[in-house]
């Protein structure tokens, strides 16, 4: 293989630009496809697609599915599937809606608006999601019922448990602090967005530097310095560009006026305020970083991928693959609960049909993002990008005015096509 020969001599002249940067080709392909999609929609809509406002909306619409997609990566990597995530989201949402509007304020007497309510609610919701997920995992891992069946049953059960608990009623409005996790109701504003962006930048650059230092310490080949420089520049550009775009979306004047009047003030002449990074997006970024660390740098992550690549080998290496299955589904359940926070906060209430069909969106996001259903392969950033692509496709078509049935037909076709391209790519590169 030419690649490994090239590795022997770091200064190999025939290495291409992309190889020298050690970028993931599949990721580049996805980013390319995403860029073409966005630019295409922007042209067709006459520049309405790539506005700060629409990009802001796209990101907040993607968060809920993207959070669950990161967990679905682990489920699919270990050759399982979870069809119940949308229903589990609904049950968690119902539990949290009742906790914050009924149980804590009235039954436990905290009173509406008590500062503890949102936090107790979220912790309790995550606990419920984790327990349900762990129960699924126990059925799959210890009782060896196929995950497809357990979670298909779960889909019916949890969707209707949520319904039963709330008697089918829509519950709202939710706690104001809780609703800050929904998107537009909770953003960092311009200054804090820049602070967050710069912190992220510092962390990314430190990561690059630490990795290089560690490789040098062990005497491994490293990229040439200029390549590190290009990579650092690309990352910086992406982070700061993202913050700049979100900061360019300004709060509408009418709304500013209302907010000022609510505090008994008048809006000063020429005053503007930017939304900046939504808290929900920040949450997604934290989850993405955490899940990536989990996948790559922890034993649990290593075992997940080992068990996905060869379950027998994992077992023979002393890994308790049954318990591992419980942990994976418990994590999936916790992420469903976090998604439920974001989704219900975005809608400002809990409704019966929350998260309907999310299981399909989440699985599609993971698969479009390069997670192999045969197990063993998948990345967190791929799944998030997959969720973003799906959401862009859907919003873009809506903006262009494509009929609803056609939208779904296109999304379905794209899913199948994406998997076909992935298969062809793997065949060509010899990866499995």
């Amino acid at each position: 293989m030419t690649h490994s020969e090239a590795e022997l001599s770091p200064a190999h002249p025939k290495k291409s630009f992309v190889q020298t940067l050690e970028l993931d080709l599949r990721l580049l392909g996805m980013i390319g496809a995403f860029a073409i999609l966005c630019i295409g929609f922007d042209l067709v809509t006459g520049g309405r697609f790539l506005t700060p406002r629409n990009i802001f909306n796209l990101t907040i619409q993607t968060v809920s599915v993207a959070i669950m997609a990161t967990g679905m990566v682990f489920v699919i990597v270990t050759r399982h599937i979870d069809l119940s995530v949308g229903a589990l989201l609904a049950t968690c949402s119902a539990v949290m809606a009742m906790t914050q509007t009924e149980i804590l304020p009235n039954m436990l007497g905290l009173g509406l608006g008590h500062p503890l309510i949102p936090w107790v609610t979220i912790v309790f919701g995550i606990l419920v999601g984790t327990l349900i997920g762990a129960f699924h995992g126990w059925l799959v891992g210890y009782l060896t019922i196929p995950a497809f069946i357990v979670t298909l049953g779960g889909l019916l059960i949890w969707r209707n448990v949520g319904w039963y608990m709330t008697s089918g009623k829509t519950i709202g409005p939710l706690d104001p602090t809780f609703m800050k996790f929904g998107g537009i109701n909770g953003t960092l504003g311009a200054t804090w967005s820049w602070v967050a962006g710069l912190l992220a930048l510092a962390a990314a650059l430190y990561g690059l530097w630490a990795s290089r230092k560690n490789k040098l310490r062990h005497g491994f080949p490293v990229k040439p310095l200029w390549a590190e420089g290009v990579l650092a520049a690309l990352i910086s550009g992406a982070i700061l560009g993202f913050v700049a775009i979100l900061n360019a979306y300004e709060v509408p004047l009418a709304r500013l006026k209302r907010d000022f009047e609510a505090q008994g003030l008048t809006l000063p002449e020429g005053y503007t305020e930017a939304y900046g990074i939504p808290i929900s997006v920040l949450l997604l970024i934290f989850i993405a970083v955490g899940m990536t660390m989990l996948a790559r740098r922890t034993r649990l992550g290593r075992y997940i991928f080992a068990a996905g690549g060869n379950p027998d080998a994992a077992e023979l290496s002393g890994i308790n693959t049954r318990l591992l299955t419980v942990k994976i589904f418990a994590l999936m359940g916790a992420l469903c609960a976090i998604s439920a926070v974001v989704a219900s906060a975005r809608l400002t209430n809990h409704s019966n049909d929350i998260g309907t069909l999310d299981e399909l969106r989440v699985i599609a996001a993971a698969v479009i993002g390069g997670t192999a259903l045969a197990g063993g392969f998948g990345t967190i950033h791929g799944a998030i990008l997959g969720a973003l692509i799906m959401q862009s496709l859907q919003s873009g078509m809506a903006m262009v005015g494509v009929d609803a049935p056609l939208q779904n037909i296109v999304v379905g076709a794209v899913l199948v096509l994406a998997v076909l391209i992935d298969i062809l790519y793997r065949r060509k590169t010899g990866a499995r």
């Binding site: 590795e7 922890t298 690549g309 080998a313 290496s317 002393g318």
Partner: protein, 255 residues
């Protein structure tokens, strides 16, 4: 000469296991002394792999007893076996194809940083060291093992078994896919490990290898033990007779 007056390192007594009516291992007893290599021979399906998988914790025996250093050992899963410092090279290699050599070598026993995160660079450095001893031509450290040749994969499996200070080493056809030079290196490795007092069960179909490397040989046929002989006291043909006809060399003389 091996000193067989003390307590054996491993004793497997009267081991039975059956799979749905098939007696894969049927009242088999074998033992192993420190610094000894015991060959396990037999036709395909004789029950060799099944017997050693009981010792390595992959299977649970139906009846019988395992003693290690004279004490009864409870081995219910591969983790238990590792606690007794039993390391195994499986016939199927048991590698996770999607992970690289270092991740496979340290699977279940990762090196971690002070923060408890897996330290891939340190593991790769250790892997490079041990592979330099076992298979100096090995260079594919950053590729999943699915991209390796059969022999390279086998080298990874061998490296994993010898890296962790085994006291009891089980090798199920460790050189089946290796070239002559690599096979020679494994032979040398076995000599070194023997000298360190490690006990080795070596499953092989190559009678020459067994004659050269082993001190004793136990032969199985149809799940049963034909017998155990001192390799020095028998010929190739004696061993062949045991494997094919199931006849103990002593019986032949009497007949």
């Amino acid at each position: 000469m091996i000193d067989r007056t003390g307590t054996p390192l491993v004793e497997m007594r009267d081991i039975c296991i059956s799979f749905g009516g098939v007696h894969a291992v049927d009242h088999v007893s074998v033992n192993l002394y420190p610094g000894e290599v015991v060959g396990l021979l037999g036709h395909n399906g004789a029950g060799k792999s099944t017997l050693i998988k009981i010792l390595s914790g992959a299977y649970r025996m139906d009846s019988g007893e395992i003693r290690i250093n004279g004490e009864r050992a409870e081995i219910h899963n591969p983790r238990d076996a590792r606690r007794y410092n039993i390391e195994t090279i499986y016939q199927t290699l048991a590698l996770a194809d999607n992970l690289d050599a270092a991740s496979n070598l340290f699977l279940g026993r990762e090196l971690v940083t002070p923060f408890g995160l897996v330290d891939d660079d340190a593991m790769e450095a250790e892997t490079r060291k041990i592979m330099a001893r076992l298979n100096p031509n090995f260079k594919k450290f950053n590729e999943p093992v699915s991209a390796l040749s059969g022999g390279q994969r086998q080298s990874v499996a061998i490296a994993r078994a010898v890296y962790f200070d085994a006291r009891i080493l089980i090798m199920d056809e460790p050189t089946a896919a290796l070239g002559p030079h690599e096979t020679q290196m494994v032979a040398e490795l076995i000599e070194q490990l023997k000298a360190q007092g490690i006990g080795i069960f070596l499953i092989s179909h190559d009678i020459h290898d067994v004659m050269k490397l082993c001190d004793r040989a136990s032969v199985m046929k149809n799940g049963q033990l034909v017998g155990t002989v001192d390799v020095d006291k028998v010929t190739d043909d004696d061993l062949l007779g045991m494997i094919i006809l199931g006849k103990h060399p002593g019986e032949q003389a009497e007949a």
